[in-house]
């Protein structure tokens, strides 16, 4: 087999980097790599991982969604207000998820029907969604959710966090959907060439709307997990999260120009950011370093990708 034919170069390099990091961390401080520590730290990554899954699919279609953090805040606030209004916490969570889905649908309709560039649409809704969240909550936090609900964010099944199980299920489903469903292959086709996709009878507009709606839905789910873990719903949560999500997806090997990318890469990208960040924090206790390390990691990964791989899917 020729080297160029190997399709998983990026994932392999990324996995090797993560392995190297973990070995280095084990030498420096074995406690960091213990199962207990890793499970406990994992709770910091669920929202990021959950949002990175639909973002991967969106970037595969050459789109982008900058509004995920704001949609998450709006979902959380809707959840909180519904709960305050007397709804059962789970029903309130459903309301929040519906609100997220509506946010996403709005983005999708503007992109697919009005054909506005997704960067522009979501740049505008990035401000608008958070603004609505602030407006309806008057900036106040809402807390006091019942223990039966906080299980979603804090509970474990056989030692594995429930939120982690949900994220794993969604990521697996999305990975399979991308690789094994007609819609999945269609997304790659749309990313490479939307006109040819339309001429092949692919439901381009419908898939686009569905995709952004899905992104909003995941933002709603992420909001529910966040609220359950922190027991608070507030309009400022998820600020700046969109850039982390895009960083993770691109780090995972998805091309920002569309047409290529895999969920497994995104999972590794999320893992790479998470472990790097946590270890830097663990070892140096300087929050300022986190930003620098992640930025360098992003640019280095894209440069490495240039060196090692040809643009394939």
């Amino acid at each position: 087999m020729k080297l160029g034919a190997y399709r998983y170069w990026h994932e392999t390099v990324l996995a090797a980097l993560i392995a190297a990091l973990m070995i280095g961390a084990a030498v420096v401080d074995p406690r960091f790599v213990s199962w207990k520590t890793q499970i406990a730290l994992s709770s910091h990554v669920w929202e990021l991982a959950l949002l990175a899954v639909p973002m991967t699919a969106i970037i595969i279609t050459a789109g982008i969604d900058l509004s995920v953090g704001s949609a998450m805040a709006l979902s959380a606030v809707v959840l909180g207000l519904a709960y305050q209004a007397g709804a059962n916490a789970w029903l309130a969570a459903a309301c929040g998820i519906v609100a997220g889905a509506l946010c996403g649908t709005f983005n999708g309709l503007a992109v697919a029907w009005l054909r506005v560039h997704p960067l522009i649409v979501t740049l505008a809704t990035l401000a608008a969604f958070r603004g609505v969240a602030e407006g309806i909550s008057l900036g106040r936090p809402i807390s006091g959710f019942p223990a039966s609900f906080t299980v979603l964010g804090l509970g474990t099944i056989a030692g594995v966090p429930i939120a982690g199980v949900i994220v794993a299920l969604i990521a697996t489903a999305a990975g399979l959907a991308l690789a094994r469903t007609p819609s999945g292959l269609s997304l790659y086709a749309i990313g490479h060439n939307p006109a040819a996709s339309r001429f092949s009878g692919l439901p381009v507009a419908r898939l686009t709307v569905a995709l952004y709606a899905l992104s909003g839905t995941c933002a709603g789910l992420a909001a529910a997990i966040y609220v359950a873990r922190r027991n608070t719903a507030k309009a400022d949560l998820g600020t700046g999260l969109e850039l982390d999500v895009i960083t993770a997806v691109v780090l995972g090997g998805t091309s920002i120009f569309g047409g290529s990318g895999r969920i497994i890469g995104t999972v590794l990208g999320v893992l790479a950011i998470h472990e790097t960040r946590e270890f830097v924090g663990w070892h140096w206790e300087h929050e300022e370093l986190n930003a620098i390390v992640v930025g360098v990691l992003l640019i280095a990964a894209v440069l490495l990708n240039r060196l090692f791989t040809r643009p394939t899917r």
Binding site: R180, P182, A195, F199
Partner: protein, 501 residues
């Protein structure tokens, strides 16, 4: 001798686009370059322009060897090229388009607008055009844009002017102005390399003719005394065969009915019927509205008025998926942008139109997809290492076979082929003709849009001709000749007027 190529060659991967071409061009001559689509003309021009780097050989101009693969060096050496594909800057106005890259300046950096304006007026006036300042090029007509491109080339004090299909979208009047300009240039000692499919133009204009076939140099000879048939023989490499067949053996029921279809300003009141087993040729000049009709029938564009019926049922307007569901398939002219997803694999492209129907319970069945891909690769005789290679890596002919095979996998009832053999070598072309005929014999209703009259005459049972957005006539197979089709296709003002000086 002004320019000489020695053993010039270019390969893209395993595809040899140009093989050892040695040609010389004299100062002050109009040197025609002809060949079928895919014969290597564009590659030859790109090498002269410095856009691509030669794989072998060299170019020398005025006795000096040209630096290979450098646009700047070619320009500095006095080679100016007007490319066939759209090379205009749509957001800039005519004046900027004329001068971008070699702007007259004051104080080293500021544009000398008055000089640009004066020179622009002069250049366009020489072509019988007026200068439209301040409007982005996108708002001008196709012909106006073409004249701007030509004027741009003329604005350079060049020694060799390369014109690639300059008259494809020009009216007779504009052609006349262009030819007069060419004559003025050659009289001043400039050499013109003229690439065109319009053999009449070449016979009227050229001093010498070079013929390329399949990337190789066939011959270069004086144009005087040549006939069209001589040129065609030389390009094709065989006698033009007696082609065609009569009416379909068993004309079937009406499959496709188009009723008064209009879409302003592209086409108006288009009506025709297409029967099972029938092949209709749709002829006409580029810009007559043929592709636009196809796009409207296929649902890619929404018509202003009229209806499209398949098997008697009206299709919802502007709905590609409904058209496909009803059995309509379109192999578009621009296969690289509309027909195929080039970076995806052959296998994926072949199943793209039938993805959903091959899936079970919303899950792709890879084995079924592989079977369909293998079947089409065999049926279409697609030459590729495996279904897993990107379509991008295939030759033009094999790409077109994938574009057609993709639709055959969907078992269409109506097949529309827009320029099915453009840019395809002779061998693949013959295979595609054979395929179209056998599909029709199997009952498929087929509409072939083509600018190649030989192709239209060779394939069709009936021929419709379009002119300026309307159907100007219908010819039966028996009545049709190239001359008759041309007469219906050409704008009313005398078609050949532009050619005579």
């Amino acid at each position: 001798m002004l320019l000489e190529t020695r053993d010039l060659g270019k390969s893209y991967g395993t595809v040899r686009a140009l093989i050892g071409v040695s040609v010389s061009i004299l100062a002050g001559e109009v040197h025609a370059l002809i060949g079928e689509n895919g014969a290597g003309k564009s590659t030859f021009i790109n090498l002269l322009a410095g856009v691509v780097h030669p794989s072998s050989g060299s170019i020398s101009i005025g006795g000096e060897v040209l630096e290979p693969g450098s646009v700047r060096a070619s320009e500095a050496a006095g080679i100016a090229v007007i490319h066939q594909e759209s090379t205009a800057f749509q957001h800039l106005d005519a004046l900027d388009n004329l001068f971008v890259g070699r702007e007259p300046r004051r104080w080293g950096c500021v544009l000398d607008r008055p000089r640009m304006r004066a020179e622009g007026r002069r250049l366009l006036a020489g072509l019988g055009e007026t200068l439209q300042e301040g409007r982005p090029l996108a708002e001008l007509s196709v012909a106006q844009r073409q004249m701007v491109a030509i004027a741009r080339a003329l604005s350079v004090r060049c020694r060799l002017l390369v014109l690639d299909e300059p008259t494809a979208s020009l009216s007779a009047r504009e052609c006349g102005a262009l030819f007069a300009a060419i004559r003025r240039l050659t009289a001043a000692g400039v050499a013109v390399l003229y690439v065109s499919h319009r053999l009449e133009e070449i016979l009227a204009l050229a001093d010498r003719v070079t013929v390329l076939r399949d990337g190789s140099h066939v011959e270069t000879r004086a144009a005087a005394g040549l006939s069209k048939d001589d040129l065609i023989r030389s390009m094709v490499g065989r006698e033009v065969q007696e082609h065609g067949h009569g009416a379909p053996s068993a004309p079937g029921a009406v499959r496709l009915a188009v009723r008064s279809l209009s879409r302003s300003p592209c086409f108006h009141e288009i009506s025709f019927e297409l029967r099972a087993g029938e092949i209709i040729g749709l002829a006409g000049l580029v810009g007559a509205g043929r592709s636009e009709v196809a796009a409207a029938v296929f649902g890619a564009d929404r018509p202003d008025a009229g209806s499209v019926l398949v098997d008697g049922r009206a299709l919802p307007p502007g709905d590609v998926r409904a058209a496909i569901a009803a059995g309509v398939a379109l192999v578009p002219e621009d296969r690289q942008h509309l027909g195929l997803v080039l970076p995806m694999t052959v296998g994926e492209n072949l199943v793209l139109a039938v993805l959903a129907s091959l899936a079970r319970g919303g899950v792709r069945r890879m084995s079924a997809e592989a079977a369909v891909a293998a079947e089409q690769m065999k049926a279409m005789a697609i030459k590729a290492d495996s279904p897993a290679v990107p379509v991008r890596t295939l030759s033009g002919g094999n790409q077109q076979k994938v574009a057609i095979g993709k639709w055959l996998a969907a078992h269409p009832r109506v097949l529309i082929l827009d320029e099915p053999t453009r840019g395809i070598d002779v061998g693949a072309r013959a295979e595609i003709y054979r395929l179209i005929r056998s599909l029709a014999a199997g009952g498929l209703a087929t509409l072939v849009i083509s600018s190649d009259l030989q192709e239209v005459l060779g394939l069709s049972h009936r021929i419709l001709v379009m002119r300026e957005g309307r159907i100007s006539g219908e010819l039966s197979r028996q009545d049709a000749t190239q001359e008759r089709i041309l007469a219906l296709a050409m704008p009313q003002e005398a078609a050949v007027a532009g050619v005579s000086p």
